[in-house]
């Protein structure tokens, strides 16, 4: 399934956050969106997932979601958004129950996604017993359970320490390599962007516009921590962002 942003503009009150953003997200690719804080990257993601509506422009989807897809556009949130009163498997069954999937069928799906995210032994644990990295793996497992056409990841690793972040990046690359999925990945961390993105969309500071789209051809599985060519890409991105970030930092927050 392909998804297209068509001339998206949006304002909160008097502050324009996004202006004329157009881009197509290709199937089975990961598109990273980077930009200075407040440039509307998370807002853009919520438009993509239908959680908010833009003032102008449209989000269009082409083609049908794959067979067995329960929730075509599926989010992974920065703060995990796990129900603290449900166990790991309960949190996953939450998103299956509404589709009438219970009992043995649900159990099979839950077991499968927990194995894929290396959580097989933790099905009965409560979220408070898990580390940040494990919580986010549960959230990823929950997203996989509905067999999404497009994964929308909103700074999924930003709440984690840098070591856990490296581990989870490896896990995401593994997941994608075994079964390529389409994803939009919002982050402010350029290392994540060059590691996971087939394309990196650079937004300007508010009002957010697309400044440049960087394509990274190196296959995900061959990318490694500290790769020379990735660092070159990262440096290029930082040069694009640096002045924007500095100017954004000096602005007052309008909320």
């Amino acid at each position: 399934m392909e998804i297209t942003l068509d001339n998206i503009s949006h304002a909160y009150g008097d502050t324009t956050v996004l202006q004329d953003v157009s881009h197509t997200i290709n199937a089975q690719q990961i598109v990273c969106i980077v930009g200075p804080s407040g440039c509307g990257k998370s807002t853009l993601l919520r438009f993509l997932g239908g959680l908010e509506q833009p003032d102008a422009g449209r989000v269009l989807q082409y083609g049908d979601p794959p067979e067995g897809c329960l929730n075509p556009l599926t989010f992974v949130f920065q703060d995990f958004a796990l129900l603290p009163w449900r166990s790991v498997s309960g949190n996953i069954s939450l998103v299956l129950e509404d589709h009438g999937i219970r009992g043995a069928r649900a159990k099979a799906i839950i077991e499968d996604v927990l194995l894929r995210t290396k959580l097989g032994d933790f099905a009965r644990a409560l979220p408070r017993q898990l580390s940040g990295g494990m919580k986010q793996r549960v959230a990823i497992a929950r997203a996989l359970a509905v067999n999404p056409a497009v994964m929308l990841l909103d700074e999924p690793l930003s709440a984690l320490d840098s070591q856990t972040r490296e581990l989870l990046m490896d896990d995401l690359v593994d997941l994608w390599t075994r079964q390529p999925f389409t994803a939009v990945y919002v982050t402010h961390n350029l290392a994540e962007a060059v590691r996971l993105g087939h394309q990196v969309v650079v937004l300007s500071r508010r009002p957010g516009r697309i400044r440049e789209v960087v394509t990274i051809d190196k296959p995900l599985a061959e990318r490694e921590f500290g790769d020379r060519d990735l660092e070159a890409h990262q440096k290029h991105l930082w040069q694009l962002l640096r002045d924007e970030a500095r100017a954004a930092d000096a602005e007052l927050i309008h909320d």
């Binding site: 989010f75 958004a81 129900l83 939450l94 408070r128």
Partner: protein, 268 residues
């Protein structure tokens, strides 16, 4: 670097700690026992005159009489059923209305001022009105208790719904959960801690109103028992009634604590 031997170090003074009450299991009971022992000693030694306070041992003896005569349950059972029916009505309607206020703008705009207007009215003052509406029998008693528990429950519930993590609700929406599923599986469990702590207040108010309701036209009931004892200045029996009410309060609070421990074990 200077030799450490030659300098005298000052220990850093401790200024942390506190602000974190820990369970002290038997201390609550000890406070009760001490107070009662003090009263017993005071009344026996004549330090406290018999008119000021009845002897705790006499109160206990009166309680024993009440129990052996079988009158205890004759008073207690109607009271408990009034409490149960009235509080169940008030709490269930209160929780539902509270959730509606928490979720819908018009409900909130329309009902919050109304609840604020009803809350400070002493419900006892409305008892004659309830008697006219629901009759002198059980109906008016149920209504009084229900009405009294309704308002604090509403306020606690919509406050609790407001405090439910919005990212959880957005998560539910992003997975395409139905409105009813979101309310049932995310909003309600998320608001439950706040609802239960509101319930402690509501049920205490229910016990207060139970006595008020029984003071008007009830043959049996703890309230009727207290009223009768009070009008005769029979302090022993009056205190027996008061102690029963206190015990009722302690028991309901204990039951809520039990429910909290069962339902909210996810809170660590």
């Amino acid at each position: 670097m200077t030799e450490p031997k030659q300098r005298t170090g000052q220990p850093v003074s401790f200024r942390g700690g506190g602000f974190a009450p820990k369970p002290r299991r038997w201390f609550g009971a000890a406070v009760f026992v001490t107070l009662i022992a003090l009263a017993e000693w005071g009344t026996r030694s004549g330090f406290i005159s018999a008119l000021t306070l009845p002897k705790p041992s006499d109160v206990l003896a009166t309680f024993g009489e009440l129990y052996t005569s079988g009158l205890l349950f004759k008073h207690l059972l109607p009271s408990l059923s009034r409490l149960a029916v009235g509080a169940a009505l008030g709490v269930s309607i209160g929780v539902s209305v509270g959730i509606l206020i928490g979720l819908f703008s018009y409900m909130r705009a329309g009902l919050v001022p109304l609840v604020a207007a009803i809350f400070p009215i002493p419900k006892i003052a409305l008892l004659p009105l309830f008697v006219i509406w629901f009759g002198i029998g059980e109906g008016s008693k149920y209504a009084l208790i229900a009405f009294g528990t309704f308002t604090p429950t509403v306020v606690a519930t919509y406050g609790a719904v407001d405090n439910v993590d919005r990212t959880l609700i957005r998560m539910g929406q992003s997975f395409g959960l139905s409105w009813w599923s979101i309310v049932r599986k995310i909003v309600f469990p998320g608001a439950l801690p706040g609802i239960l702590s509101g319930l402690r207040i509501s049920l205490a108010i229910a016990i207060i109103l139970l006595v008020a309701a029984e003071m008007l036209g009830a043959e049996y009931g703890i309230g009727a028992y207290i009223l009768e004892a009070g009008s005769l200045y029979d302090l022993e029996r009056l205190f027996v009634g008061v102690v029963i009410l206190s015990l009722l309060g302690v028991i309901t609070s204990g039951v809520i604590a039990l429910i909290e421990r069962r339902l909210l074990d996810w809170r660590a």
